[in-house]
Symmetry: C2
Subunit: 371 residues, 2 copies
Amino acid sequence: MSEDVRVEVGLGERAYDILIGPGLVARAGAEIGRRLPGIRAAIVTDENVAQRHLEMLKTGLDRGGIASSTIVLPAGEKTKSFAALQEVVDGVLAARLERGDAVIAFGGGVIGDLAGFAAGIVRRGMNFVQMPTSLLAQVDSSVGGKTGINSARGKNLIGVFHQPKLVLADTAVLDTLPIREFRAGYAEVAKYGLIDRPDFFAWLEANWQEVFAGGPARIEAIAQSCRAKADVVARDEFETGDRALLNLGHTFGHALEAAVAYDGARLVHGEGVAIGMALAHRFSARMNLASPDDAARVEAHLKAVGLPWRMADVPGGLPDADALLSFIAQDKKVSRGALTFILTRGIGQSFIARDVPVSEVLAFLKENHPG
Amino acid sequence: MSEDVRVEVGLGERAYDILIGPGLVARAGAEIGRRLPGIRAAIVTDENVAQRHLEMLKTGLDRGGIASSTIVLPAGEKTKSFAALQEVVDGVLAARLERGDAVIAFGGGVIGDLAGFAAGIVRRGMNFVQMPTSLLAQVDSSVGGKTGINSARGKNLIGVFHQPKLVLADTAVLDTLPIREFRAGYAEVAKYGLIDRPDFFAWLEANWQEVFAGGPARIEAIAQSCRAKADVVARDEFETGDRALLNLGHTFGHALEAAVAYDGARLVHGEGVAIGMALAHRFSARMNLASPDDAARVEAHLKAVGLPWRMADVPGGLPDADALLSFIAQDKKVSRGALTFILTRGIGQSFIARDVPVSEVLAFLKENHPG
């Protein structure tokens, strides 16, 4: 009937489906009701998403016979707080939902992380459904079961692993995203190619314009990304090993985000990851691990799609190399003067490097610093 | 070397040991360090326990080379709150502990539930060590991985399953407990006999005075209780079936606690469970499921140890039978006029009864109401 693509996340008794296709918001009641018959639901969303899409979701749930209440929160990273967590938990309990009922996260990564955390702790774990409305959330945060909020001492330091029962990724709602946000999400799509799928990266180089335009190529890119992440997560659900590969580009990226004090007007997460991936490839070339041609290829693709790819692309300037290094060291455990990085031997050949000398990182930052 | 009794909780890769014996607080560093080498720890405790035993624990940890910080909270059920949870989480993060470091719960059930919850959500799950200092916590809340806090809408509605790596039950610290608190904990010890260990119940009838006095009989009673609970938990870690047997006496008991507005001066949890167990046996006899002689035997034993065993034993009077029923119905899902209760066919033969008519419960409450 529908043209949805289905990706299965193989986690034994916690296995679940990701459905990807246009119009899934309107069909949510049918898809959820088929898998979780007779439930009621609490929708957790933000003001922006509610304004654009909530009515369609309510109608879609009604059609499937699912009664629902709604908890609307302010949009933005500040919502990943203890106060918002308590608000969601209280709202779910006020709706008198039982363990077998569902919390539905309807929004981007912030809403998914917060609502998933709430679902994981109300009655020691309720059913949870992800309905990601940003490209970033569809290909990254909605897959893998990580949930959480921020602490004054760092991002995502408080949370649980709580797998959803179902992920519904409506590819049509992405048309309402600002282009800058879509692009930032695309950085994580490209990441999966760079980690271990060279053919997918080559396909993106040839087809990225169709992915941005919408239609089958977009669905295919999202499905490939979910499959890639699901493979890694199935191998390492609780992040004790291989899952660290998903951090490709994130060490440099987080340092840049921290350096602009998480000011989204200057740099959003996906943009930080884009620059971080380019730097990880360039640094790998400098360490004679990969060819400079591969670094150039990554830089060229990011540039082509309109993503930032070098430190000079961060508007407003950056602190000096020593300061950037201290942001990296803050993010990571520095053991005996060495850092853990995701480095690469070429396109689609990334690996976990556990003994990267701090001195090399500092020299690299100095060479590539725009200031 | 030591005379500790060891009980293993068989949960596959989450299996852990319970050590039971005198002096374990002073030996904590050695026992923890043997299993979790090189860690640091955050001790979570309350003001009463800190005053009596914290110095000995700090010394014990120091001796094992375990550096520790301490978070001290007010004693009492009100500490199972969102605000206290945030305080513990912030304290653990402020101590810069990593996932492989440990949160140590040093106190009764309130501290264990709260600290376990914090350990379950900091960095999506840190190592956790239970050091229960009340009899109730040693035989009940420290075994099984349930953690949580209370909501305005009910007790323990928010939490996670998070198994400890080790439980150290120091039987000597129980000597500092008020006798009323020790007795209340003893109700849960007797419960394990009544659930499915008739020989243990008979042993308690013969030996309860030695259990109260301390020494080997106390260690034996605690070890038997932990074994009994560990067996149930190993069969049903996430409470989807058999684990409900542990609620013997709790349906009536919770209703009585609610009826006195959780006023511990009138009725503490274990006392409610004691009356609840006697009522469950008497009600089972009334339903012709068990012999009235068994109900009389339970009542006689509770009376002998000084525990309350009938509704008339609650000081200050109780609301009428209809009101008590509404507290029961609030606690449970009432489906089609029927309630789920733990009933029994005799001593050590309890079972889950899913279709208990509300009308029978009401009639029983009226017959047994003191007012």
